[in-house]
């Protein structure tokens, strides 16, 4: 297991996401209201660039003609075939038990901690004053 310093927290404001090359893997880091989630930028269905799809909510309805949007901003739709994934868990909506996008646990670490190691900061210049998103795998 290795801890990778991905980016300063300020680089991914709430409601946005960005794809980084982390340890050779393309990983999308999503900021959902200050919580960070990592998702492999590869759809488990056929390999589309998942994190480049539409960020959306979950469309729900219990009766014909009922249309509601809940959990706004917490789902991503693969740009290739439109499969919906829960950004937090990677779970697919249509095959929740079978198809799951690869997720990566993230944490926030201060620059002061990061400089002590053992972190890998491949491309990120670290300063002690800042907070960083860290991914471990």
């Amino acid at each position: 297991m290795q801890r990778y310093v991905v980016a300063p927290v300020a680089e991914i404001p709430p409601g946005t996401h960005k794809v980084f090359a982390v340890g050779g893997r393309p990983i999308g880091i999503f900021n959902l209201d200050g919580e960070f989630y990592g998702l492999l930028n590869r759809c488990p269905h056929q390999g589309g660039s998942l994190c480049e799809g539409l960020i959306t909510g979950l469309a729900v309805g219990d009766r014909p003609g009922e249309f509601r949007m809940v959990r706004k901003g917490e789902m991503v739709r693969c740009p290739w075939h439109g499969w919906e994934f829960d950004i937090r868990t990677g779970q697919s909506w249509c095959e929740p038990s079978k198809v799951r996008a690869r997720t990566y646990p993230t944490e926030i670490a201060s620059g002061a901690e990061v400089v002590k190691g053992p972190y890998v900061a491949e491309t990120v210049p670290v300063t002690v004053e800042e907070q960083y998103v860290v991914v471990e795998f």
Binding site: T56, A59, V60, G61, D62, R63, P64, G65, E66, F67, R68, H81, G82, W83, E84, W93, C94, E95
Partner: protein, 354 residues
């Protein structure tokens, strides 16, 4: 020795011999109307009476209409097959008439005629309630009138009606079917309110006939995506004479697209494949596959041994001799198709006729 002892034939077509046979079942107004206006025939354009497909040559009488009396049908089909029950689906112009009221009058008369001339004459006959899809309100009235007679086991309309079938306009009809535990049978055929294909009128019958499975797909998609099976969880739909081999490709397209675009219809929470396997049944005449190997592959792709219902489609010309089922079906599969699936689909068949 009969071919399929105890089989339940889910699609046979007694023919109304002519308007005279229906007049006793009409009120004074409609009796006078049909006689004075000289209206007779009432054939469906989908099944021209003289066309080879409308009656197999060895079943066609020297004169008059084929399949017009119970004794002939028993001799030519029921006795040969070993049929325990045969569900009568008379195809008549009542279901396509431009006038809702006239259509309803014909449907009422046909239902009463079939009851007296077939159901009362041979205990093996059962029937669909023929209703006028031109008016869901009048269709419901007819269901309410005939449903208490438990020998009527289904409600039947042509598959191509005046609108997409899942629309709310038809919900009272769907609700009545569910309420009475009667499957809704969609039979090949059209009211011809629109061209027979979505690109316009075809030049030849061959086009109408081959492309008709598309219409079944249209109506099935409408029922699924308007949420009809969510609204009416007890609703069963039987696709009659739709063919079978189109189904696997349809199911795949329906699943694939639902996975990507289901947010358009968020109340459709289950895969269309699951919905179809639970709510939809198909008569297996015709099957539309070339040989036993293809039949086996298609059955495998449908991935359910509960969906297919035995049918001869008598007197329509779908097979020769007594080969009413395709080769390639395993014995257990065939047993379900001949007896178990029809009984599960039409629960009234379990009841003792009174």
């Amino acid at each position: 020795m009969s071919c399929y002892p105890g089989a339940i034939d889910c699609d046979i077509h007694p023919t109304v011999p002519g308007i005279k046979a229906l007049l006793p079942f009409m009120d004074d107004y409609w009796q006078e109307a049909f006689v004075s206006r000289g209206i007779d025939g009432l054939e469906m354009a989908s099944y021209p009476p003289g066309a080879p497909i409308s009656c197999r040559a060895d079943w066609r009488p020297a004169k008059g209409r084929p399949a017009a009396d119970p004794a002939t049908i028993a001799r030519q089909s029921l006795d040969v097959m070993g049929t325990a029950f045969a569900i009568c689906n008379p195809l008549t112009g009542g279901q396509v008439a431009v006038s809702e009221s006239m259509g309803a009058a014909v449907c009422r008369a046909v239902n009463d005629w079939i009851s007296k001339e077939f159901l009362d004459k041979d205990a093996r006959f059962r029937a669909s309630i023929i209703v006028p899809p031109q008016s869901p309100e009048l269709a419901v009235e007819e269901i309410e009138r005939r449903a208490p007679d438990r020998r009527f086991v289904q409600v039947m309309i042509p598959v191509a009606v005046e609108m997409m079938l899942g629309r709310r306009y038809y919900w009272p009809l769907l609700a009545a079917c569910e309420r009475h535990g009667l499957p809704l049978g969609l039979h090949a055929g059209s009211l011809h309110r629109y061209p027979t294909t979505s690109n316009g009128w075809s030049s030849h019958y061959i086009q109408d006939y081959v492309s008709h499975s598309q219409t079944f797909e249209d109506q099935l998609l409408s029922l699924i995506h308007e949420g009809a099976f969510v609204k009416f969880p007890g609703l069963r739909v039987v696709l009659i004479e739709s063919g079978v081999s189109w189904l696997p490709g349809f199911i795949w397209r329906a699943i694939k697209t639902w996975r990507g675009v289901r947010a358009e219809v968020p109340y459709v929470k289950r895969s269309p494949a699951e919905i179809v396997r639970e709510h939809v049944r198909l008569t297996a005449q015709p099957f539309d596959a070339p040989d036993a190997a293809a039949v086996m592959r298609i059955v495998e792709m449908i991935d359910s041994d509960e969906m297919l219902l035995f049918a001869t489609d008598y007197p329509h010309w779908q097979f020769e001799g007594d080969r009413a089922v395709p080769e390639g079906l395993s014995a257990p599969f065939l047993a379900k198709m001949l007896i178990d699936n029809p009984i599960a689909t039409y629960p009234r068949l379990k009841e003792k006729a009174t």
